[in-house]
Structures are given as C-alpha cells and as structure tokens.
Point group: C2
Chain length 140, copies 2
C-alpha cells in the first residue's frame, strides 16, 4: 500500500501522517501533474490553502513530490518513489502532456555525463517539447 511508504517516510522524520496530508497525497496519486490552483480547488472545503502549500513544500523536501516546468506555472507530481521513474513530452500544439517511460540506456548515460564533470547525481528531470503524433499529422 502506498500509504504505508508515505507513513514510513514521515515517521522517519518524527512527523505524522495526518488527514490533510493523506488527502493531498491521494489527489496526486494516479493523476497527471497538477498545478497548485487545481490542487487547491480540488481540495476545497477539505484542506486549507495554507496547509496545501505547507504540505507540498514538506513533500518536496522529503522527496515525495517534485515540481515540473510545463507551461507558464509549475505543476506537481509524485516522485519516482511512488510512480515509476519517467520523463515528459509536452506538445506545443495541443498542450497535451505525455509520459515517456524511462529508458535504462538513457538513464545510465545521464548519470555518466554528470559524473564525468565530477558531480554526484541524485535525481534528474527531462522534459521534451515538440509535436505529438496527432498534431504532427494535421497541418497547423
């Protein structure tokens, strides 16, 4: 159960799995990356705005979520700990965001490139922009 891992991560820091934290986590589970505004409106009457900001900040610090550069404002999604590692493809035409499964060869190369410069990589984010299959077919 995902809630168990979440609970474990929190307990390790002497923090507790509260109702608001569970609600926010559930909003993120199995969903595409969401903007703060969407999260806030989806949690309306359940969790306060301030708590959502505080929780996302906490979750990010613990590596439970991370934020993405899609469009003008950022979006939040669960980290690799909860959904398999993946990258994103964003269509410039229709605005759709697709998931790209992680490719072992590519992952290795990314770490290698960083190591070559004497860095110790811990995580990374790759966003590809262009045209999706649909949009590439039709004229603009």
């Amino acid at each position: 159960m995902h809630h168990d891992s979440l609970h474990a991560l929190l307990v390790k820091e002497k923090l507790s799995l509260t109702r608001p934290r569970r609600i926010i986590f559930d909003l993120l589970l199995h969903k595409d990356p969401q903007s703060m505004q969407v999260l806030i409106s989806r949690a309306a009457n359940k969790v306060d705005r301030a708590t959502i900001y505080r929780t996302i900040e906490l979750f990010e610090r613990l590596g439970i979520v991370h934020r993405l550069n899609i469009g003008w404002k950022y979006k939040i999604e669960l980290s690799d700990l909860f959904v398999g590692h993946h990258h994103h493809f964003h269509c410039n035409q229709c605005g759709a965001t697709h998931t790209l499964q992680a490719n072992p060869m590519l992952e290795t190369m990314i770490d290698t490139v960083a190591a070559k410069e004497n860095f110790s990589p811990r995580s990374h984010q790759l966003e590809i922009h262009g045209l999706c299959g649909q949009c590439a077919g039709q004229p603009a």
Copy 2:
C-alpha cells in the same frame, strides 16, 4: 550580431525590435539564468515590470528564451538559438548551478527515445540535481 537574429525572429511575426525588448534581451545575454525579480530589478527605471512579463512571455512563445526549474522558483535564460545547447547541474548542498556541455551521444538518444513513441521532438531540457565536487568532498 545577436541583435540581428533577434530582429529577424520578431519581424517574421510582424513584430518590432523595440528599446525595451532590446534591453531585456541584453540583460539575458551572457548571463546565468535569472529570476523574474532579478530581471525586474536590473531593468529598474528602464523597463516597466508589466513590460518585462509581457516580453518574457513573448520571447518564450517565439523560442527566444525558456524557463528553468532551479529550486523553488523558476529562472529565465536565452534558448539554444543564442547560447550553445547545454544542460544544468544543480547542487542540493550549496545551491550552485553549473552548466553541462551538450553531449552528442546523449542528445541523439533523447531524440530517439521521443521518436520511438511517435513524437517529433523540437527541444528539450535536462536538469540534474545532486552534489557538486566541492560538496561531495566535505561532510554535510
């Protein structure tokens, strides 16, 4: 001259290279990624806040700049059209941002991965997080 390419990109869209646009472009040239706030304060008394937002939005639409996820807030930098294509490494410890020269092998693989899923990649962004050489040496 970089201003010529900038001018060409604007003219193609029936837009003009105005004083504020040139000033903002120059602020970005040869500089590390900058936050909106820094851009606003650096352009103080020269370009209005609203104009900076409008210009960055325009530049982004035309592919002249793109935004980066570095830490909590995003930053703006010139796109590959004006500075060589590169990636970023961000140190979780000291907060420094380093440039990673583009690696031909890696670049090819990124495009291949996207193409395999029937996407037509036009650009991409890779951000690596971890510890820099300095910080990896010393204990936390």
